[in-house]
Amino acid sequence: MLTLLIVLPVIGALLMPLLAERLLRSVALVSAGVTFALSLAMLMQFDTQQTALQFTEFVPWLSPLGLNYSLGVDGLSLPLIVLGTFLTLVVVFTGEKSAHRLFYALVLLANAGVTGALAAQNLLLFVLFYELELVPFYLLILIWGGERREQAAIKFLIYTAVSGILVLAAFLAMGWLIHAPSFDYADIQMAGLAPTTQGILLLLLILGFGIKMPLVPLHSWLPDAYVEASTPTAILLGGVLAKLGTYGLVRFALGYFPEAWGQFSSLLAIVAAVGITYGALAAIAQKDIKRMVAYSSIGHMSYVLLAAAAHTHLSMVGAIAQMISHGLILALLFYLVGVIETKVGTRELNVLNGLLNPLRGLPTTSALLILGGMASAGIPGLVGFVAEFLIFQGSYGTFPIPTLIAVIGTGLTAVYFVILINRTCFGRLDNATAYYPRVVWSEKMPAIVLTLLILFLGVQPTWLVRWSETTSAQIVAAVPSATEIVASLPQ
């Protein structure tokens, strides 16, 4: 079944060059739609109480190299897979104006790559998929990006390629140093390695996945890539790709090096607090609303790092919830910013005004933007609150000061979203320019669906966290608590 999740988008992508122009979108939609439906069916069948991997598949591939086609999901990876297939469907639906066969093919391939990486149960297979999605994203930015797309695409390529190299180097070292029979996750046990070696390998992983998240100060590719990318690509970048970074940190860095992680955790919590504050302050300083949303992403991904650093049960549930929540909210915000840019022709904060105008503005878009901003700022009743509250609740006991800084960061999120909303939605619509095209229903639909999800998961958080509770408990159980590690350190 997991193979189908990977193969279906690949088949869709391979069909693109063969199809007539008018069929492109329909076939892409069917491919993405069926994949999403399948992932949803898996989610429904997923046994939330079971600690073992589910939907496992194993096919020996290049055994001498330790590479097997080994797949499986748990409460960490499955929700992210569903998020990825869902956002891919949204992107295919919204990609109407970019109705190019290559566009759909690349989007579907990117989805296949991300799903493969999340489902992989073999380190080399993970790297294979991890690198595979790089090419579609690079081309998506390069071909459908903004004016400075070449620079942004190259920057993205270099950074993420370095990320891939670091991760590959760490994985190879992990396998070789312990003489593992294969690179299957189950065969990798790092406990016997010297603490220094573990520390070095962990550092490689933190750097590798930190670039992907991205962590401050490894983030400088992100604003350019997010801003220059077209709206659909930005949704995939922020909503799906960045999650591979946090997933990698939790799965590999925390999962394989629990003790070393514990020793690094205080530093990581500080890095997270810096990232949250930096992301928020940088967002406040922006004059381009897309760049503002992009910087907000840096801050919000740092919440995941804080939760992972604390690695309590509650914070881990919060971390996974935050990945989903951030994916949905960021997708909504990028989508709405894209609509505004398309209709108004600018993303400049100093130019936009009065878009809430019911007759000639973009009232629905503006209303949803306000709601998206509220969700991002962690207003109760919306999904952002659930995730952030769990993280704060779970992290405070371990890292009170970084957690308090994160809480202040949430306040700063409210500040820049109030700035954005106040300047963009309120005020007087400019008479001279207020001839914006109407936002038609098909353009509103993706935003409405995303909003409904944000609302639904906000008032029914069980549907957000139930999938990952057992897995979170399992991850945490394998790791000595940060408090214990700190206490065990020589005084």
Partner: protein, 437 residues
């Protein structure tokens, strides 16, 4: 894009260094404040038609307010004029007209009567139509009358309203009105000025009613002539208005109040107050240039000292109306827009549906078209004033032409006053642009 204006061939004046020079040249050539294009003509005539039918209700109800409701402190049914007022023969329409301007009937317009009966929702008691706001919104016209009163242009009538003669007549009428109401009589004793001011307001309601009694048939007729093809340019339309203004300029302005079976004359016809000077000019000055009866006008921020301390500087009228309602910071289209919307001629409805957002922002498009039509009315007033007080446009004497120019320049200067941001707010540059919709 601003339409290029040819200076009149007869011009014997030097070129003008003025931000609105093109418009002044057009006025000197006998034109209007807006470019003479078929689309502009269609818009202004269509809006006259849409405006005239509510106006037929406004003037009838305003007379009802002035003559019957008068100073009723709880006028719950003031927007329900009696049948007598719907049947009231217009002095400028029908067979009984003093001067027949419209060839149609003298009683209320048939489209108005049909709307009052059915509205947009369907046939039901008038009170339900009223509560549902499926009606002609009289609030608009009351605001205009109050605006005229607040600005009090300093004409003869204005002086008369402060005279002992008026006060005595008003006192008599007030006492008669409350003769069976000791409480109100007691209050009148305590606060006589308050009641007197209410009487003056009733007089202004009456004055505005008398003004619109003329304008409604003018607009009916102009619309009919456009439909027949005899009005083919903005200039034709403007000249029709100018001729109409002159034809009725001397109409007496008066105020009679009917209490029980008695007629109380607050402003007698014999005083010789004339329609042009006591109703038309003050209306244009107060409503078009200065006042704020229209919700949706330029916003003043009192805390930022944007409200002029001098009443004359309070420029806030329809010509300055911002047609874009904005969330919490803005104001929805006016009630007048909604009133006119019910009576849009099909050709204008079709035009609006093809532009901008069609039905969705039709009130904005309608408001902007209304600006065009009101600029044409203003043009007619300017040309009529020039004709009355200055010189013919083809006068051979350059001094006379220069006097005309000074008049036009002075008027245009009112639209470019930088201290209140009027230059942009008044939209006079916008209405030159065919893409301003």
């Amino acid at each position: 894009m601003v339409q290029a204006i040819e200076r009149p061939s007869s011009a014997k004046l030097p070129p003008l260094d003025h931000p609105l020079a093109d418009i002044i040249y057009r006025l000197e050539a006998g034109g209007a404040l807006i470019p003479d294009t078929p689309v502009n003509l269609m818009k202004i005539i269509g809006m006259y038609k849409a405006y005239s039918i509510p106006m037929d209700f406004y003037w009838r109800d305003l007379l009802y307010l002035g003559e019957r409701v008068f100073i009723n402190p709880f006028p719950f049914f003031k927007y329900f004029p009696t049948k007598e007022y719907f049947d009231l023969p217009n002095h400028y329409a029908g067979d009984t007209a003093d001067l027949r301007i419209w060839r149609g009937p003298a009683h209320a317009h048939p489209e108005l009567m049909a709307f009052i009966e059915k509205g947009e929702t369907g046939k039901m008691p008038r009170l339900l139509h009223h509560l549902w706001h499926d009606r002609i919104n009289m609030e608009f016209s009351e605001d205009l009358a109050r605006a005229m009163m607040w600005h009090r242009m300093g004409g003869e009538l204005d002086i008369y309203l402060d005279s002992e003669e008026y006060k005595a007549a008003a006192d008599k009428a007030i006492r008669a009105y409350f003769k069976r109401n000791p409480l109100m009589l007691g209050l009148y004793k305590l606060f006589p000025d308050l009641f007197l001011e209410q009487a003056r307001q009733a007089t202004y309601m009456n004055v505005l009613g008398l003004f619109w009694e003329v304008m409604a048939p003018v607009f009916f007729e102009i619309s009919d002539r456009y439909d027949e093809g005899s009005i083919t340019s903005v200039k034709d339309a403007m000249n029709f208005l100018v001729n109409g203004i002159f034809a009725v300029a001397g109409r007496p302005i008066y105020h009679h109040v009917y209490i029980d079976d008695e007629v109380h004359v607050l402003v007698p016809k014999e005083k010789g107050f004339m329609w042009l000077y006591e109703a038309a000019f003050p209306y244009v000055e107060a409503v078009f240039y200065r006042t704020a009866p229209f919700r949706g006008t330029k916003s003043y921020n009192a805390q930022a000292n944007q409200v002029p301390t001098d009443q004359v500087d309070f420029h806030y009228g329809i010509l300055f109306a911002d047609k874009f309602p904005v969330g919490t910071a803005g104001i929805p289209p006016t009630l007048l827009h909604q009133d006119m919307y019910h009576f849009l001629p099909q050709y204008l409805k079709d035009y609006f549906h093809q532009h901008c957002r069609g039905e969705d922002d039709i009130l904005v498009q309608l408001g902007i078209a209304f600006q065009h039509s009101m600029y044409t009315v203003t043009s007619a007033v300017l040309q009529a004033t020039r004709a009355a007080f200055y010189y013919p446009l083809d006068d051979p004497n350059p001094e006379h032409l220069m006097a005309n120019r000074r008049f036009f320049v002075a008027q245009m200067n009112r639209f470019i006053r930088p201290q209140y941001g009027i230059a942009e707010a008044c939209k006079i540059r916008n209405v030159q642009d065919p893409n301003y919709l």
